[in-house]
């Protein structure tokens, strides 16, 4: 029963017929618009009596054709007139949705303020954390052990496989590349020093931090963010459960505890990979490697590596929780904040790594 919309131009009169609805107009829209534009202002008599259906999209089209006024000779039945009336009643100048133009200095300024805001937020989070710890010391029965252990398991135990795989491959790669160079100097035995120092002190912690920021950091932001979107966070508050003690604190301490363990594990696996590659490439026996490791790498390096793990874990979790808590209740903000969390976490970790490098420059370097 669907009839396509038709337009008949007679001298001094336009007759519309058929079904004037969006769905029916779509296939021939350009032609219809052109026809209507051609017969626009000059004609005063419009006959709509043969129109079977008229929807608001068509009404808007006609109203625009008429130049926003009733044509003097309009023939239309009451139903269609009512549809047109609704369009006619719209305010004449509908405010355009203003899209503010942003100039470059403004953009830079906004960015700066945002960064400062985030810094402030993270410091506030840190302060809240101290308060919570103070509270928990006084009320030890409120310590969220379950959430804490769950977080250690999720961000630590479940990350063992992927960190081992990546660590092993990196160990093999570095050992292999260094072996090629060392061989040409005849300095094969230094492979132990190179691998030991670089992996334990530097690569292990940073590698794990990058992996964990992508894995657990993003998960934390997304989880807290969705809890905000769905108002679950507010539900916790109304039940008198502190969101910072139940949601944020276990995440931060869980990761702070899990990270050094992960660093230890990953460094060990990476060293193992390096040892294997050295065995194959330089014929360096595993026994020799292990025997010489303590001599080549002072134990201070291990301490530095593990402390980095603690600090990085804390930093990643604080950044992730901060961005999670500042998700606005919409999907776009959720995705933007998850991205920001991972990027900021990794950047901050590298920054802290540089600070470590400067302040520990005299510690743990073997004297030759």
């Amino acid at each position: 029963m669907s009839q396509s919309p038709r337009l008949l131009v007679e001298p001094g009169r336009v007759v519309l017929s058929g079904c004037w609805t969006l769905a029916e107009m779509l296939p021939q829209l350009p032609a219809l618009q052109a026809d209507l534009a051609a017969c626009s202002s000059s004609i005063e008599h419009w006959d709509l009596s043969a129109v079977t259906r008229l929807d608001s999209a068509a009404a808007v089209l006609l109203w625009r054709t008429w130049g926003a006024s009733w044509p003097p000779g309009l023939v239309a039945d009451d139903l269609h007139r009512q549809v047109l009336l609704r369009v006619a009643e719209l305010p004449r100048d509908i405010p355009e949705q203003a899209r503010p133009r942003v100039r470059f200095p403004e953009w830079v300024g906004a960015l700066l303020f945002k960064a400062l805001g985030n810094l402030r937020g993270m410091i506030a989070l840190f302060g809240q954390l101290l308060l919570d710890v103070g509270y928990l010391v006084r009320h030890p029965q409120d310590v969220p052990w379950k959430e804490f252990t769950a977080n250690v398991y999720k961000s630590g135990a479940q990350a063992l496989a992927v960190t081992a795989l990546v660590g092993f491959l990196i160990g093999v790669t570095i050992s292999y590349l260094s072996a090629l160079q060392l061989k040409s100097f005849g300095a094969d035995l230094f492979i132990v020093n190179i691998l030991g120092i670089s992996i334990i002190r530097e690569l292990g912690p940073v590698l794990v931090a990058v992996l964990v920021a992508g894995r657990s950091g993003s998960a934390m932001t997304a989880q807290i963010g969705v809890m905000r979107v769905t108002e679950e966070i507010d539900v916790l508050s109304t039940m008198g459960i502190s969101r910072s003690i139940r949601v944020v604190l276990p995440k931060i301490f869980g990761l702070t505890v899990a990270m050094p363990l992960l660093v230890l594990w990953t460094s060990a696996v990476a060293l193992f990979g390096g040892m294997l590659a050295a065995l194959l490439q330089l014929d360096l026996s595993l026994i020799y490697f292990l025997d010489n490791l303590p001599r080549a790498v002072p134990v201070a390096n291990l301490v530095i590596g593990l402390s980095k793990g603690v600090v990085f874990g804390f930093v990643i979790a604080v950044v992730a929780c901060h961005f999670g808590l500042h998700v606005k209740p919409n999907t776009e903000s959720l995705s933007a904040n998850t991205t920001s969390a991972v990027v900021t976490a990794i950047t901050t970790v590298i920054l802290f790594d540089a600070i470590f490098a400067v302040f520990t420059r005299h510690v743990g370097v073997p004297q030759l």
Partner: protein, 251 residues
């Protein structure tokens, strides 16, 4: 004289993890009918609407819209079919990242045929229809009250001038005044455009003011379907319980 069927469900069965929600459910809605779908909470009303929309594939039976089977493989045909229907979800389901204006403009822009001025007028028209101010267009969904979410969702469902409108509890959360406006609005649209409407509602006033037909979902299938007056006389615990003393109000 029977009019062409808009929705035809035949022997539809659906279950979630072994729990049957629908069993051998059949329903035929004809053009121009306003069907009120009644059923207890959790009886599968929303599930039924999802089956009609093709969001949920029934385990058995067939669903036909406008005479086209939903399993029809032709992608373009499927898309054109979807454009002919509008759905108001129970919880609004607005795009949370878009403003009210953009939410309503979204399906119009997707057509890629309408110019900006046309879209703007249409959006403001829909806003006015559901009783919202033009400056509400700038708000984000998170800034709306529950009732406003419903109205924006309705405006979005109406954006493409659908021939079939599915409403999931449209008046729940609206004040009586707004409910009344809503009833009038849908009634007007129905008269102007010959819409077919299927609505889930528990509100007797909405049902009385709007529905031409009533379908009752109980015991996992449609136990009664027909004009209002007929259905009310059905002897089933749910029907007698639901209408109870208010039977007369509906007539």
């Amino acid at each position: 004289m029977t009019r062409p069927a808009v929705i035809e469900l035949n022997g539809v069965g659906a279950s979630f993890r072994g729990r049957t929600v629908h069993r051998d459910l059949s329903l035929r809605v004809e053009e121009g009918q306003i069907v009120g779908l009644l059923g207890g909470s959790g009886s599968g009303k929303t599930t039924l609407l999802r089956e009609i929309l093709g969001l949920l594939k029934p385990d058995s039976g067939s669903v036909r819209l406008f005479g086209v089977d939903l399993n029809e493989p032709d992608v373009r045909m499927q898309r054109n079919l979807r454009r002919r229907l509008g759905m108001l979800f129970q919880h609004g389901a607005l795009f949370s990242a878009l403003s009210v204006f953009d939410n309503i403009a979204f399906p119009l822009r997707e057509l890629r045929c309408l110019d900006a001025d046309w879209i703007r007028r249409l959006v403001h028209l829909k806003l006015a229809m559901v009783g919202l101010e033009p400056n509400h267009g700038k708000l984000m969904p998170a800034e709306l009250s529950g009732g406003m979410v419903k109205r924006v969702a309705l405006a979005r469902a109406l954006a493409l001038e659908p021939e079939l409108l599915l409403l999931d509890e449209p008046t729940a959360g609206l004040d009586p005044d707004r409910s009344q406006n809503f009833v009038e609005l849908v009634g007007d649209l129905q008269r102007e455009l010959g819409l077919t409407v299927v609505m889930v509602t528990h509100d007797l006033n909405t049902l009385a003011g709007l529905a031409t037909h009533v379908a009752v979902l109980a015991d996992q299938h449609i136990i009664a379907f027909g004009p209002k007056a007929e259905v009310m006389t059905v002897d089933h615990p749910f029907v007698t319980g639901f209408f109870g003393a208010d039977r007369r109000k509906l007539l």
